[in-house]
């Protein structure tokens, strides 16, 4: 294969970034790690590597997932490659004080052990550069509160598969209100039996019908948050 012979270090910046987009698309973890290291070596800022090489690459993946071009396992491969790049970048991003893509605490609510959808959302978010704190299944309100306190996330994600457990999302949201922290965090909810109307009724900020939409919605909320901040600064 001619393309297997590509030597990343020989490529100029533009060609390398282009190649990294393709390698992300192909879910090539080691190549992504290598590409990140090369760009950092060429004195790119970690933030520039993140946004131009990784996030942009995953945007293309997300687009093709949304359009039914890519299969779920392929997207997971891409997300894994992205995560590997993020692992290198994360400490450097903190050091350099770069703006973070976003952080989410996520969990399947109390009484519910169905988490495939939630896991896909978590992996896709990580793939998009988000930091994800996954609380797993059967998560009660105390566990959510503790994680929010500890990790100070931008977003809270809750999922449920059962009509009997989905009302618990409201319990969590009500508790956030009582504690006076509801306004500090955007609440995204999802799960097969949910819909927009339910999300509105329980006071969530958004309903996400699938993993691709969850990522788009999360990005959207982070953008809004940044805009609000810059608006306040002006």
């Amino acid at each position: 294969m001619a393309q297997d012979d590509i030597i990343l270090a020989d490529l100029d910046d533009a060609a390398l970034v282009q190649q990294m987009h393709e390698d992300l698309y192909d879910g090539l973890k080691e190549e992504i790690e290598q590409g990140v290291m090369i760009l950092l070596g060429r004195t790119w800022t970690p933030y520039k590597v993140l946004t131009e090489a990784l996030v942009e690459g995953m945007r293309i993946v997300g687009e093709d997932f949304r359009d039914g071009i890519l299969f779920v396992p392929e997207v997971l491969m891409s997300a894994n490659a992205m995560k590997a790049g993020m692992k290198i970048l994360r400490p450097l991003l903190v050091e350099t004080g770069a703006p973070r893509v976003g952080k989410m605490v996520i969990g399947t609510v109390k009484g519910d052990i169905h988490d495939i959808g939630k896991n896909l959302v978590a992996m896709m978010l990580e793939g998009a550069g988000f930091e994800v704190v996954d609380l797993g299944i059967n998560t009660d309100v105390d566990k959510f509160l503790k994680a929010i306190d500890e990790h100070q996330p931008d977003l809270l994600g809750m999922s449920a598969l059962l009509t009997t457990t989905m009302p618990y999302m409201k319990v969590v949201i009500e508790t956030l209100k009582e504690k006076g922290i509801r306004d500090k965090i955007s609440v995204l909810v999802g799960g097969a039996p949910l819909n927009e109307e339910f999300a509105r009724a329980i006071g969530a900020d958004a309903y996400c019908r699938d993993a691709a939409v969850a990522v788009e919605t999360a990005k959207d909320f982070i953008k809004r948050k940044h805009n609000q901040r810059s608006g306040a600064d002006a």
Binding site: M1, Q3, D4, I6, H21, E22, D23, L24, Y25, D26, G27, L28, E31, I60, D64, D67, G68, I69, L70, F71, V72, P73, E74, L76, M77, N80, I113, D115, I116, N119, L120, M123, I137, N195, E196, R209, D210, V213
Partner: protein
């Protein structure tokens, strides 16, 4: 595992696939792995058959052709009325001649990859046939034209689950009747490379079909005698009558070694008794008599026993299909054909006026009946609507979806160690998922059957995309298929010969008409 680098290629390929060519199963024989369903016990079948023989022995059948009557007489039939052509046939005569029918035969096409085995456990899907009207969502329901016939031919040629090119799928009502068949055959042999049907009305039309088949196959008439390359569906004019034109067509085919599918038109309550047992007895009598006649014309004539018994709506008199009555007669028809080892024809039929839920569930019931009855030739497999009055382009696609689904689940199931996947199960912790497992990664692209039409998007995505239901999606699929239609190559010398033949026949027909 290793992944090839080449995202750009893959992305372009997948994007192209999703927007352009229709993904479908490959062309190939359809093998039925199931045993046929024996709905009736032997004693009940005996009673149906005994009644059929009583009909032939005591009441007889009208053959509206003196030539046919003399052949029947020579071979042991009793002529009851020479003016009407009413003849009675003893069961021994019928059985002796029916026994000369091959149990299995090959229909040859100009492309040998398209040859079809008729009989045994093969299911061959035939196109819609004989519809006077055409319909699609954009242009509505209208009388068929030659342009519509061409459009249907291109569509069905492109569908790998359809085995036959068909005959008159829809009538070309804009063409003059005496030469319509010539235009149809030219289109069939240039636009398709599948086995094509003759128009079995009178000897002359069949002669033309046989001559054209010999030209495009590049074989002699002698070779054609042992290699049937065209066929027709012959309906009796139930009850108990076979018309002159159809007999002429049948005789021409039989004399030349070509295939005949004999299908009594026995709608219970209208052209046959209202009781299914009685309608089946009449179907059996008519089918066996005409098959015996074909063997008298030429022993060894490839024949198919056609079952078409259904019921009518007794409030309107209109035919109904895909009904419990149709399912039962189709299953029992298969049993009756198997008694003689005859290849069997049944149909994918429905009576709905629109490509809707009724069209789909009646068709689904019909297809199941075909499969369980060991139908070898599934007539009207793709595109039939409104009890046969309409060929629908959207229905072609919906039928293809159902047929592909039916064929797909019949392929052998892999139970190798690799498929049993113990190691894959071991690799995933309780409560985990297999989306990212290596076992999944190396198989996901082709692990499952890919539908033509069905989609798995969630409600919101589907709504955002315009809430397009299966019928409307089918509209997009047939357009894409016709847009990407590929004409099979034909030797220009053969085409020239076909054209010369047709030109000569046009002149002859203009001066002396058709026989």
């Amino acid at each position: 595992m290793t992944v090839e680098r080449g995202a750009t290629d893959r992305r372009a390929r997948r994007r192209a696939e999703s927007s352009a060519a229709v993904q479908q199963m490959p062309w190939g024989a359809w093998i039925n792995p199931l045993p046929p369903l024996e709905l009736l016990d032997g004693e009940s079948l005996d009673r149906i058959e005994a009644t059929a023989f009583r009909v032939l022995e005591e009441l007889g059948l009208e053959f509206m052709s003196p030539e046919a009557v003399s052949i029947l007489e020579r071979n042991g039939a009793k002529v009851v009325d020479r003016t009407t052509g009413l003849v009675c046939l003893g069961r021994d005569v019928v059985k002796a001649f029916v026994a000369k029918s091959p149990h299995l035969f090959t229909l040859h096409s100009r492309n040998p990859d398209r040859n079809l085995t008729i009989g045994g456990n093969r299911i061959n899907v035939h196109t819609v046939g004989g519809a006077p009207n055409i319909s699609d969502l954009d242009r509505g329901r209208r009388p068929g034209t030659f342009a519509d016939q061409i459009e249907l031919m291109k569509l069905q040629q492109g569908l790998n689950c359809v085995h036959f090119a068909g005959g008159t799928q829809v009538e070309a009502q804009d063409l003059p009747v005496p030469t319509r068949h010539l235009d149809m055959h030219r289109a069939q042999v240039t636009l398709t490379d599948k086995v094509f049907g003759a128009r079995g009305i009178g000897r002359d039309r069949v002669k033309d079909a046989i001559a054209i088949a010999a030209i495009v196959r590049g074989v002699s008439r002698e070779q054609l005698l042992t290699e049937p390359s065209t066929y027709t569906i012959t309906n009796t004019n139930s009850p108990r009558r076979v018309d002159k034109e159809l007999i002429g067509g049948l005789m021409e085919l039989a004399e030349n070694g070509q295939a005949v599918c004999v299908t009594p038109f026995t709608l219970a309550g209208a052209m046959a008794p209202i009781t299914l047992a009685g309608a089946l007895a009449q179907q059996h009598a008519e089918a066996l008599a005409v098959i015996a006649f074909a063997q008298m014309v030429r022993p060894g004539t490839p024949v198919v026993y056609g079952g078409f018994t259904s019921n009518v709506d007794m409030r309107t008199g209109a035919p109904l299909f895909g009904t419990p009555e149709y399912v039962r007669t189709t299953l029992i028809g298969g049993q009756l054909a198997r008694r003689y080892g005859l290849p069997y024809r049944a149909s994918n039929v429905n009576a709905s006026n629109a490509v809707d839920a009724q069209a789909t569930y009646e068709s689904a019931m019909s297809i199941w009946a075909c499969v369980m009855s060991h139908t070898n030739m599934m007539h009207h497999g793709t595109g039939w609507l409104e009890g046969g009055l309409v060929a629908s382009l959207e229905k072609v696609i919906i039928d293809a979806e159902m047929l592909q689904t039916m064929k797909a689940w019949m392929s052998p199931l892999d139970v190798s160690d690799d498929a049993l996947a113990f190691d894959a199960i071991k690799a995933i912790a309780p409560g985990g998922h297999f989306f990212g497992a290596d076992h999944t990664m190396s198989r996901f692209e082709n692990a499952f059957h890919r539908p033509l039409l069905a989609e798995g998007r969630n409600f919101e995505s589907w709504t955002e995309a315009g809430s397009i239901d299966a019928t409307r999606r089918a509209n997009g699929v047939w357009k894409r298929m016709i847009e990407h239609y590929q004409q099979p190559p034909l030797d220009p010398a053969k085409l020239e010969e076909v054209d010369a033949y047709i030109a000569r026949r046009r002149e002859e027909i203009a001066t002396s008409g058709l026989a």
